[in-house]
């Protein structure tokens, strides 16, 4: 399934904390910020608790920078970024990192593409050298591309075709966004993957992979002062690239509910309800973020208590909102329907919780709980260098900047119960929603008899 961004469905605490930097009991160590002469931003955070570090390079390019007919180009390029350069031919990158005890990987979202290496702090330079090398001069080989395209198609089958929930999420975005590129899935459509050419990849790479469109982040057992000269030596010689245009098609206002069904072989129904809402650039995002927590963080949250505990009509239920998006995205509800429950009842129950928030403000206890959760999760998040770096990378890549994120907690603390009620009324309206329902169809053939056949010994 291909969620528009990584976090979307990760454990809630992770989600929340994406937003806040610095807070309470343990203020995060402030990053040292540098900007190279070619425009690359560098953020370094010293965390001496274990002899390890994470190196991450975030490019401001994701599926929102693609055009109709080439959906999935950013992600395909991410895969091709491991196919080698003149200096480090195919296979060398990961082999060198692994040989040095590190792991490397990458991920693509709607708004960004990020590469990372987690490794011993004394091997950071190797990761930097390799990342600097592939920022230019990527070898795009036609044969490698043919094979990798098949790999990506397998990935699409795995996440979107054969996963009922993945299929529903993909359709929800396609319905909620008509003209904005959030319309298509990050992994792309089969026909677009087949139509993609090496020239498309080259153009995408030349346009977006340059120091002025990237943020380098290192979090771990490093000394910023000592490491910066190395970074300068490795990255500053890379010439500044074009300034990519970041304008995208605006999404017109939604005027009336959209509703769709997805029928496929499945055991239980799945319901999603998405509402178009603002992103970090609006003050309402703080209240929406707390609204999400009140609805779905922990077993004392409203949705769990109502749909899972009291009514027993959901196996899992939740609300998700990420204000960390370049353009306004979705606030959505989901419910995995209990086998004996009716989809209509689940939808009604979700709507009742929305109506309740619109008609009366949450209690002070609930509001305080949500604030405490948001604050605590920020501290827990720093337990992982990787997540700490992701928070910085994401905030830079979507245009918010890590400093802005810094004010987040303060703004959150100022939100009142009335604010929560107000945003519920303003955005969680029927005319602004898109409802998607996965309708299970019976298996085409009866389940094969469990009679195993046995081969020759």
């Amino acid at each position: 399934m291909n969620w528009p961004a990584i976090y979307r469905f990760s454990p809630t605490c992770f989600l929340v904390s994406l937003l806040l930097l610095h807070t309470g009991p343990a203020a995060a160590v402030e990053p040292s910020e540098f900007v190279l002469s070619n425009g690359m931003k560098v953020l370094l955070v010293e965390v001496p608790k274990a002899p390890v570090a994470t190196v991450q390079v975030w490019y401001k390019v994701g599926s929102r920078n693609e055009v109709m007919g080439r959906a999935g180009l950013s992600h395909m390029l991410e895969h091709m970024m491991f196919k080698g350069t003149a200096k480090y031919p195919k296979g060398t990158f990961s082999r060198l990192i692994r040989k040095n005890g590190g792991i490397d990987n990458a991920f693509t979202g709607q708004d960004f593409t990020a590469y990372f290496e987690n490794l011993a702090a004394d091997r950071v330079e190797l990761a930097l050298e390799l990342e600097a090398d592939r920022m230019q001069g990527l070898a795009l080989d036609p044969n490698e591309f043919q094979t990798e395209r098949e790999v990506v198609k397998e990935e699409r089958r795995l996440r979107n075709e054969d996963d009922p929930q993945g299929a529903l999420v993909e359709t929800l975005y396609a319905q909620a966004f008509l003209s904005h590129p959030y319309h298509w899935p990050v992994i792309g459509w089969f026909t677009d993957l087949d139509a993609m050419t090496l020239e498309d990849l080259q153009r995408h790479y030349d346009t977006f992979y340059s120091p002025n469109n990237a943020t380098l982040i290192v979090v771990g057992d490093i000394k910023a002062e000592a490491l910066f000269p190395t970074i300068k030596n490795l990255f500053e010689p890379i010439p500044k690239g074009p300034s990519p245009k970041h304008a995208t098609t605006a999404e017109p206002e939604q005027r009336g509910e959209r509703r769709f069904l997805l029928k496929r072989e499945a055991q239980v129904p799945f319901v999603m309800m998405g509402f178009r809402v603002p992103n970090y650039s609006s003050d309402d995002s703080y209240a929406l973020n707390l609204l999400e927590a009140i609805l779905s963080h922990g077993k004392s949250s409203r949705l769990y208590q109502s749909l899972v505990y009291d009514q027993k009509i959901s196996l899992a239920v939740g609300a998700e909102y990420s204000l960390m998006q370049t353009d306004p995205g979705l606030f959505y509800f989901y419910s995995l329907v209990s086998p004996d429950a009716k989809v209509e009842n689940v939808e009604d129950a979700l709507q009742r919780e929305i109506t309740r928030l619109q008609s009366e403000p949450p209690s002070e206890t609930e509001l305080q709980r949500a604030k405490n959760q948001v604050e605590a999760s920020r501290v827990f998040e720093q337990d992982s260098n990787f997540r700490h770096a992701m928070l910085l990378g994401e905030s830079e890549s979507i245009g918010a900047g890590w400093r802005r994120v810094d004010q987040f907690l303060e703004r959150t603390q100022a939100i009142t119960a009335k604010d929560i009620q107000r945003v519920a009324k303003q955005y969680l309206t029927q005319d602004n929603r898109t409802v998607g329902i996965l309708v299970p169809t019976p298996s085409r053939q009866p389940e094969f008899p469990p009679a195993a056949h046995q081969g020759k010994p």
Binding site: W3, I6, Y7, R8, F9, S10, P11, C13, P25, A26, P48, K49, A50, P51, V52, H79, M81, R98, N100, G101, G102, I103, D104, N105, F107, R123, V151, V152, E154, E155, R157, L158, R159, D162, D163, I187, R264, Q267, V268, H297, K299, S300, V308, K312, L315, A316, L336, S338, P339, T365, N372, S377, V379, D383, S384, N385, S443, Q445, A452, G455
Partner: protein, 462 residues
């Protein structure tokens, strides 16, 4: 070559919305292996261990960088202790711990932990059950209070028993939408016939329905004892504070007679067994494997190196190179030796489009044979060892990871020298060892093969 992701995810993660009733989600994200390198670096950790008067093992590791504390209880009882006709008992018992105690209702427990932004989680697995509280330092007393409450004084209310059981039954139905789960269940049936590892941890429709509230209460009374518990405390807390909190909150836990355990070895698979399961999908989910090793098997480290080269080493493994990078047949492919208290299983899993099912299986078998028939190259061996040694500290780089690893080191009786000796144990593995364990623990003739997918089109010939 590397893969990851799409939007969301890294490589082999499969996010689902279910799992644990509450919020969920998931994913295995990065297979957490991890590390650093050829200097063979050991981890410099000095945990302290004590045994309390009532027989509980307590392990404490001070980590003062962040104001957080992880309190992690491991109880030496899991689904391996389920009576076969009541598979799912350990899991149901665990799932009910935080659904009401003598003094707090399910909702009160949830409200208290949620209010301070902490988490309280219980999880049963095959060999043990864990219950853990993750909390800010300022709330550490509450963390101990709630964790002790659910472990020492669960009330097992009748209505919660019924509700949670229906919830798990629902999840079992829903799991059938995940071909990986379907394949794993079928595979375990083939590999662990007549063995406690045969059944899913959560049981089956049939076995869950046979469990009564009295079964749960009896299981709890028999298994949840201080002597069966390893309590690991990691974070911003001193040894003195930790000891005092343990005494206050767990001191009253009554001793009991330790339950008797019998070690069962799974029967070796003596022939090839194939099981096919029909689903209307575009890919075949393939699992191929057989019995494996226990965690205390002396060959564990040699097997770890061998398995790394075969398919556990991610982008540098032979399976990834052959099946993904050269043939483009799969997005993810991995081999696993699940080393448990009793010998676990070995398996390779992948998903490939229906049409290439046979080609992928042939490729997998060729790699298994290859590892048995010829020694690995010097370079493969050196690189595998250097990764395993070097990545060791990455396994210990967060409070949560440390608590989990410390608890398991104690559970498996590895001794704290594990942290300093691990690199040496890996370093001494030779090419001959790798080929010897490949021949001993991999079998390309007698294996279980499970394929879930569109069988009419896949035409499995193996």
């Amino acid at each position: 070559m590397c893969t990851p992701s799409t939007a969301s995810q890294y490589r082999f993660s499969r996010h689902r919305f279910r799992r644990n009733r509450a919020v969920l989600v998931v994913g295995a994200l990065l297979v957490a292996l991890i590390g650093f390198a050829d200097r063979g670096s050991a981890a410099d950790l000095a945990p302290a261990k004590i045994t309390t008067a009532n027989g509980m093992t307590v392990v404490v590791l001070e980590q003062h960088f962040l104001p957080i504390v992880e309190v992690h209880a491991l109880i030496r009882a899991g689904s391996a202790q389920d009576p076969p006709e009541k598979a799912g008992l350990a899991n149901l018992t665990a799932s009910l711990l935080d659904e009401g105690t003598i003094t707090r209702s399910s909702k009160q427990l949830a409200e208290q932990i949620d209010f301070v932004g902490g988490s309280l989680e219980v999880k049963a697995s095959e060999d043990f059950t864990t219950a853990s509280a993750r909390i800010l330092r300022k709330d550490v007393d509450l963390g101990f209070t709630l964790l002790a409450d659910i472990l020492l004084r669960p009330a097992f209310p009748k209505q919660e028993f019924e509700r949670v059981r229906s919830q798990i039954l629902g999840e079992i139905v829903s799991d059938n939408d995940d071909p990986g789960q379907v394949a794993m269940k079928a595979f375990n049936q083939l590999v662990f016939s007549h063995h406690p590892y045969r059944w899913p941890v959560h049981g089956t429709d049939d076995t869950l329905s046979k469990i009564t509230l009295a079964d749960v209460q009896n299981f709890y009374s028999k298994e949840y004892l201080p002597s069966q518990t390893i309590l690991t405390i990691v974070g911003d807390i001193t040894m003195e504070q930790a000891t005092a909190l343990v005494q206050t909150h767990f001191g009253s836990w009554k001793k009991g007679a330790p339950p008797v355990r019998s070690i069962k070895k799974p029967a070796m698979i003596e022939k090839k067994t194939v099981q096919l399961s029909e689903k209307d999908l575009t890919q075949s989910t393939i699992m191929l494997g057989h019995g494996g090793i226990s965690r205390t098997n002396p060959d564990f480290y040699a097997v770890t190196v061998m398995n790394h080269i075969l398919g556990a080493g991610g982008f540098s493994s032979r399976l990834m190179d052959s099946i993904r990078d050269k043939q483009g047949l799969a997005y993810g492919i991995m081999s696993h030796f699940d080393a448990r208290a009793m010998p676990g299983s070995f398996w390779i899993n992948l998903q490939t489009k229906t049409e290439t099912t046979n080609q992928a299986i042939t490729g997998v078998l060729a790699e298994i044979k290859g590892l048995r028939e010829a020694p690995v190259t010097d370079q493969e061996l050196a690189e595998a060892k250097s990764f395993l040694m070097g990545s060791f500290p990455l396994r210990l780089d967060s409070t949560a990871k440390l608590a989990g690893v410390l608890a398991q080191v104690e559970f498996f009786g590895l001794g704290f020298e594990y942290f300093s000796q691990y690199p040496k144990w890996i370093e001494r593995v030779t090419k001959e060892d790798v080929q010897r364990v490949a021949k001993q623990y991999l079998n390309p003739q007698h294996y279980a093969l499970v394929v879930v997918g569109n069988l009419a089109k896949a035409k499995v010939r193996h």
